[in-house]
Each structure stands twice: as C-alpha cells, then as structure tokens.
C-alpha cells in the first residue's frame, strides 16, 4: 500500500499541495483526477522523491523511500526518461544494467504488444510511439507499484486504446497502479478507485463500483457535483 499522509508542497509562496492524504492499494488501479495544475504530477514526484515535499509523510508498504524502493516502485512520467538519441534497445540495455527488477522477457513481449522496433531511435518515433516506449521501460520492471503520469495525454486514439488495453492485461494485473489524468472517459471502466483533487486538497476519495452501486453515479457525475457544486 502507498500511503500519502497530509502532504504539503510550496513552490516559493505558492502552495500547490495543502495537506493531501490518500492511499493506493496493491492490486488496484487508483486514479488521481483533477484539472491541470492541481498538483497531480507533484504528488507522483513526491512519492518517488523526485521533488521533496514541504511536510507530511509518504510510506510505501509502511516504509519510507530508500534507494531500494526504486526496485519496487516504477514511475512513468509524461515524457520519456531516456536520451533522445538512444535506440529503444539501448534504452532497454540501460535499464537492464541498473535494475535487478528488469524483466527482459516482459520487455520483449511489450515490444510486440506495442509493435515497436528495437532498432528505432527514440528521437525518430511518433508521439504515440514515444509514449509506448516510455511505458515499456516502466512496465518491464517487475515492480509492485506503477505510477503513471497522464499516460493518455497528447497521443492519437489508437495509441490510447492500445495503452488502455495494458491496464486490463496481465501486464498490470496484481500490481498497484496510480495514474493521473484530467480526461477520465477512456478509462472509467478500468479504475478501482478515484481520488479527486482540487485546490491542493483531496475533495473526495471513492471506489468506483461502490459509487455506482450505492449512489448510482458515474465518475463523471461525481466530478460534476464536486467541481460545480
């Protein structure tokens, strides 16, 4: 379980996060929803210590982050984290060199799944294929938790469908996933849990199936209530 406890973050005088708390379970897909600039990316950066938080605590399976945590939690930012001139195979080699949790079989499978060519240079790929290559580098790690920042933004519809398929496949199954998005439509049916953020706080945290069952509301219904109400 990833626990975010009363986390705050200031950039200069601007308070981006003002006491955010939520949990994300293993084996579930948790979705951080909010308009742009609401601090979703900052939260993910905070979980993997790419940006220090001003206060609060973040625990992963009850422990604070150490260097070993990066073998257990993979963060996939919204831009690829490899050098543009690298070929996909070189990027894969880099990952294999540094991560014990790198699973080369899975990587090969993902190459096929996404129809990517190993020998292509990252700089020569289309936007959609860069997003897929980026995803590949994260998904091929045998980690318990995957954090994905806006995996659907700025790419074509077919790439979006392909990426959405990942979530319903064994590539994600049993792992804990946190994804951020401002566009819920593509994935409403595949997420377990929603954390609605606004003005640097958690407005609402709920299980999607429970919300449909008990209140008969879709995720978008709830968002409408929260953001317009």
């Amino acid at each position: 379980m990833i626990e975010v406890k009363n986390v705050t973050k200031k950039f200069g005088r601007k308070k981006v996060l003002q006491g955010v708390s939520f949990t994300a379970n293993k084996g579930e897909i948790t979705c951080l929803i909010g308009v742009n600039g609401v601090g979703k990316t900052t939260i993910l950066n905070g979980i993997v210590n790419l940006t220090p938080m001003s206060s609060g605590e973040i625990l992963i399976d009850g422990e604070k982050l150490t260097k070993e945590t990066y073998e257990k939690v993979a963060f996939i930012p919204d831009a690829i984290t490899m050098l543009p001139h690298m070929r996909i195979e070189e990027a894969m080699q880099f990952m294999q060199d540094f991560y014990n949790s790198w699973n080369n079989e899975r990587a090969e499978e993902l190459l096929q799944f996404f129809k990517l060519k190993k020998e292509d240079r990252i700089s020569s790929l289309s936007k959609g294929n860069v997003a897929k290559a980026n995803l590949l580098l994260g998904l091929a790690l045998d980690v318990d938790y995957l954090l994905m920042d806006e995996p659907f933004s700025g790419i074509d519809i077919f790439s979006r469908e392909q990426i959405a398929d990942v979530f319903t496949s064994h590539l994600v199954e049993d792992r804990g996933v946190i994804i951020t998005t401002h566009e819920i439509n593509d994935i409403e049916h595949i997420i377990d849990k929603v954390v609605l953020l606004d003005d640097g706080i958690v407005f609402k945290e709920f299980e999607t199936e429970e919300m449909r069952e008990v209140e008969g509301k879709s995720v978008v219904d709830v968002m409408r209530e929260v953001y317009r109400g």
Binding site: A164, S169, D192, K217
Partner: protein, 126 residues
C-alpha cells in the same frame, strides 16, 4: 464478445446481466467452459478485479461453477436455467408494463402491437 457499458450501473452487475442473457438465449450452453477472469477482463476491457467480482456473484447465484483448478463452467442445472429465463422475461415484462402504464393502453391493443413489432424485428434480424 463486446459489451457497451453504461457508466452509472456497477460494471460487475452489467457483466452478470450480460452472462444471464447469453445463457438464456442459448449462446452459452449448459456446462460450457467460460473464459478465465483474466481473459474476460481482457476481452471486455475491464479491470480484472471487476471480472473477479462478477464471477464471484455468478458463482454465489449458482450460474457458474468451478471444480478444483479447472476453468469455470456454466451451470449444468436445468432448473437454474428455467429460473433465469423466468427472471429475465418477467423483468423485461415488468419494465414494459411500467413504461406503458402511464399511456393507459388497452391490453388487446398492446398484445397486438407487441406481436407485430416483435415479428418485424425477427424478420429484420434474419
């Protein structure tokens, strides 16, 4: 297999409903093997947890059964099938009645209309 989900009913309820319709219509035969939870999630593009939940509900309702480590199967119990058939038909008729009730239409006219439209649709499908 493709289902268009609505967004307000729980997905697992919609999956169960889909299975009931398939069983009653005979597209699934009694005792037939069904996809694993993972396969189902993948086919329907739903969360594996949701597929799991749907199967659990169906198992509890006796619609499917699992022996040991074998794949799950549709029930072999004819009685369950009959009950299911009644449930679906009665449910549909209840909804129809509720819908036409405010219009206050005489029963004969309604039956005639149903017959006409139903046959028309069947012909259309063939």
């Amino acid at each position: 297999m493709k289902i268009t989900f609505n967004k307000r009913d729980p997905v697992y309820v919609q999956v169960v409903q889909h299975f009931k319709e398939q069983i009653v219509s005979g597209k699934y035969e009694l005792g037939q093997e069904i996809p694993s939870r993972r396969e189902l999630a993948n086919q329907l593009k739903i969360n594996p947890n949701t597929a799991q939940r749907a199967y659990k509900e169906m198992e509890e309702a006796g619609l499917i059964f699992t022996e040991g480590n074998n794949p799950s199967r549709i029930t072999k119990d004819e009685q369950v099938l009959r009950d299911l058939r009644t449930e679906l038909i009665e449910g549909a008729v209840d909804r129809l009645i509720a819908a036409v009730e405010p219009v206050n239409i005489p029963i004969d006219e309604l039956i005639g209309l149903i017959q006409e439209k139903y046959e028309e649709q069947r012909r259309g499908q063939v």
